[in-house]
Every structure is written in C-alpha cells, then in structure tokens.
Amino acid sequence: MPEKKRSKYIIIPCSGIGKALGTITRRTTYIVTEELLPNDTDSICLPLLTIKDEETVRKIRQNLCITVDGCVAQCAKKNVEHHQGKLKGSIKILDVIKENPKLKPGTVLDIGPDGEKLARKAAEKIVKIVGDKS
C-alpha cells in the first residue's frame, strides 16, 4: 500500500524588501521551518503565488498555511486569500513589536539582536498555532 504523504503547515513570509520588518518575517519563517518544527512545516516562495504558479496554488490549497507579514499591507495573507488557500493563522510583525516595545529592529540587511528576538517571538506564536489542533 502506498504511504500517504503527510501534510505540513506552510509558513509564508512576505519578505518585503522595503523594511526591516520584511526581513524579520523571513527570519521568523526559517526559525520555524529549520529549527523549531522542521518535520511539521515547510515554506514556499511567495512570488510564485503572485504569478499564480499552479503547483504552488495547489500546495496552499492542500495544506494549512500560516502567513507572516511585516506591515499593514499584509501581502502574504492577501496572496493566500486571493488563491483560496487554507489559512490557519496569520502573524503581523507590527503586532509583535507593539507587544515588545523595547525591542527595536535594525535594518533590512541586518535586523540586529532585537530583530532576532522579535523573530523568535513571532516564531513562538507560529509554534502555538501549529500546536492548536482545533
């Protein structure tokens, strides 16, 4: 009998290039997919959704998705919603900053130690969403 392929949570950062917050979304995603939950999560290139790549659209419809956005434009969330992906949760780095006002992110190219802390806090939120089976 063929083994059924286990579905994974797809973590999708906006990766915005204009602000440090975009880099934090990216770092958050790698913390989750490479360190904290490598067996339960995966990621995709968001630009593939923007160009309506069929395989990528199929992937977000077949797996639960968690988006990580830097700013209010919420590009990752909107791209997933546009393609009727299974959105399980969405994180905004702006909210994480509001909850941790003493942490000041660095720059786009170097988010700095506070940016790293913000990414870890956002990653914890994702771990919680993945753990929530409801």
Partner: protein, 135 residues
C-alpha cells in the same frame, strides 16, 4: 517641471532558494547606494492597488530573479503589462561566472560574497544601459 521616473529594481527575494537571498541582498545594497532607483515589494503587485500595479508602467524596471522561474520578470509583465527593460537571473550568473552556488537560504555566508558582488556589478551595468536608453 517634469519629474523624471526612477528606475524600478525588483527582486524576487524568493524564500525557497538560496539564490533568492542573493537577489534580495544584491538588490537591497544597490538601493541603499543609489538615489536613482526605487523598488516595490513584489507580492504587492497582487496585494496592492492600481498604484502598485502601475509601478512598472511608471518606472522602467530591471528585475532580479533567483531562478529561471523568473517570478519578478513575470510579475512585471502580468501586472504592469510591460516587459522589464532587463532581466537578471542569479542562477545564470552562477553558471556564467562559475561562482560558488550559495547554500544558505537564510543568510549570506562569506563564500557568497563574490556572487553578491558579481550580481551588484551586473545590476549597475544594466542601470547604466537603461539610463542611456532614456536620455
């Protein structure tokens, strides 16, 4: 006084491949060095409004893609209804210059620096060509 449009520099910043990190860092460094280029976050083409979709119409664009799927170049065509003035692909640079393939998706390793520098040189050259064409 007519305001001259700037050159749009659009990186794929693809999260899934190390080449996406190179496109992102190479593009961002150029943006920080020069004042004649502007950018847009690529997913805003879909998530944004008409103003974002018109970005490529209003600014001649150079795209910097990690792989041959060329999401940035395709986005310009799909949403801006124009062709990019120039399309740079990191995997092509690696092949042409016999650069070391990047290994990390999440950071630039010291071994990747030559590839980033090669990418920046090509972007700078293409900006020069687009400016010459405009004048």
């Amino acid at each position: 006084m007519k305001i001259k449009p700037k050159i749009g520099l659009i990186s794929c910043s693809g999260e899934g491949l190390p080449e996406g990190m190179i496109s992102r860092v190479g593009t961002r460094r150029i943006l920080e060095e020069r004042d004649d280029v502007v950018t847009i976050c690529l997913p805003l083409f879909l998530a944004g409004g008409q103003e974002e979709r018109d970005f490529a119409k209003n600014n001649p664009c150079i795209t910097v893609d990690g792989c041959r799927k060329m999401c940035a170049a395709k986005s310009v065509k799909m949403y801006g209804k124009v062709h990019p003035k120039s399309s740079i692909v990191i995997s092509d640079i690696i092949e042409k210059n016999k650069d070391e393939k990047p290994k990390s998706k999440s950071k630039i390793e010291p071994d990747d620096e030559k590839l980033v520098q090669d990418t920046m040189k090509i972007i700078t050259k293409e900006i020069g060509k687009v400016k010459e064409e405009k004048e």
